[in-house]
Symmetry: C2
Subunit: 233 residues, 2 copies
């Protein structure tokens, strides 16, 4: 049994929603209809619908049926995302630039994040990400040279730093902090932007297999960089 049957049914419905065949408000097949269509028991068909209901894509009403929800759940907006993908999805040009690369001795905090001894030699690089030539993200990257010797030898003119990372090791940890602040002095002066620029989100990501920690600050956000959600009760 490769993929469970209830997952197949779930994907079947989810795909139709995403493709626009089922639009918000539409009724999707009932449990019994799915039973016949896929030759499964009601509990199996039910599980597919229930799962989509739990995820907020369907609204199920006793006596009526299951309907495509009119509002997408907020959680889908808060996934751990790659800024390059996000920019490309908007059809804009993306580029990144490494502006510094220095050797540092790990502070105790840094050491803990990368699981090395305090005082160990690490590389600290600053990467700025651009959307349409406008800086949108400032990223501090700490690299453990013992694990990531490869990383230091890469030519980031031919491969973006993020693309290399996602190829080499899986993301193992991520924390986001969504906070409104003004950009700090360092960032403002390096990027020649106003210290009045608000910044939105600070995220820390760890690729432990590659020995890399990234702390990113989303700067200069506008409508394109807001998070939101909508509930109807």
């Amino acid at each position: 049994m490769s993929t469970p049957r209830f997952i197949i049914i779930k994907n079947f419905i989810e795909d139709k929603i995403n493709a626009g065949e089922f639009t918000p408000g539409d009724r999707v097949p009932s449990e019994n209809e799915l039973c016949q269509q896929f030759s499964v028991s009601r509990m199996t068909a039910r599980r597919a619908l229930q799962s989509l209901n739990d995820e907020g894509l369907l609204i199920r009403t006793p006596g009526l049926g299951s309907f495509v929800a009119k509002h997408r759940p907020i959680s889908t907006l808060l996934e751990v995302r790659n800024i390059a993908d996000e920019v490309h999805e908007r059809g804009n040009s993306y580029s990144a630039k490494i502006i510094t690369m220095t050797e540092v001795e790990a502070t105790s905090q840094q050491a803990a994040m990368l699981n090395v001894a305090a005082g160990a030699i690490l590389y600290h690089s600053v990467i700025v990400h651009f959307e349409e030539e406008i800086p949108v993200q400032w990223e501090d990257r700490l690299v453990n040279p013992a694990l990531a010797a490869d990383y230091l030898l890469q030519d980031f003119n031919t491969i973006t730093p993020n693309a290399y990372l996602s190829k080499v090791a899986p993301l193992t940890e991520a924390s986001h902090k969504i906070e409104a602040t003004l950009v700090d002095q360092t960032i403002a002066s390096k990027l020649h932007i106003d210290t009045r620029s608000p910044c939105l989100q600070i995220s820390r990501r760890t690729w432990s297999a590659a020995g890399i920690v990234s702390i990113a600050t989303l700067i200069h956000p506008g409508d394109r960089y807001c998070l939101g959600g909508h509930w109807k009760i």
Copy 2:
């Protein structure tokens, strides 16, 4: 059958987690143990555990058991919350002040939100919420006097505007937009704060039964007003 049995079991476990009896990493009772303890079938016990797993409170591993998750899911941080509750939870003093109350003719947008005809008479009030005497939220409230005559007669020195609302009608809709901007000129001048103050979150809430729409802006946010999440993969 008042409350479903699987809900009872689910609450039983959830309560123990919240009370600290089960701490992150702990193993919770297995499906079979719950069967005996609550005299239910395995499918019922399973459903309670599965539900907690889906919500991210438990991690279930085949062959091992169900364990309390080490990281809370981000969604729980984004609930529709009451600012008064939030301030009180921090042990700080909360107060609110109605600073204007004017009669307006509904624009087409406003009319649509409250389901009245464009041009209908509405009341527009501005409420500022304080934490420890510091303004933290600016709220524009639109009130349909046909439905909310009561509201206009309240003495908000003895009951806070929010407390009255939650007593009188259920919240029916809410949308949040999390965005980093600077406070606008109007707010800055009325509250005598710097136009450089960042603001974080804009939320719109609707109490349709009471004919009230509220648009709130969270101003002057600091560490206390950030949202965040943490994932471990």
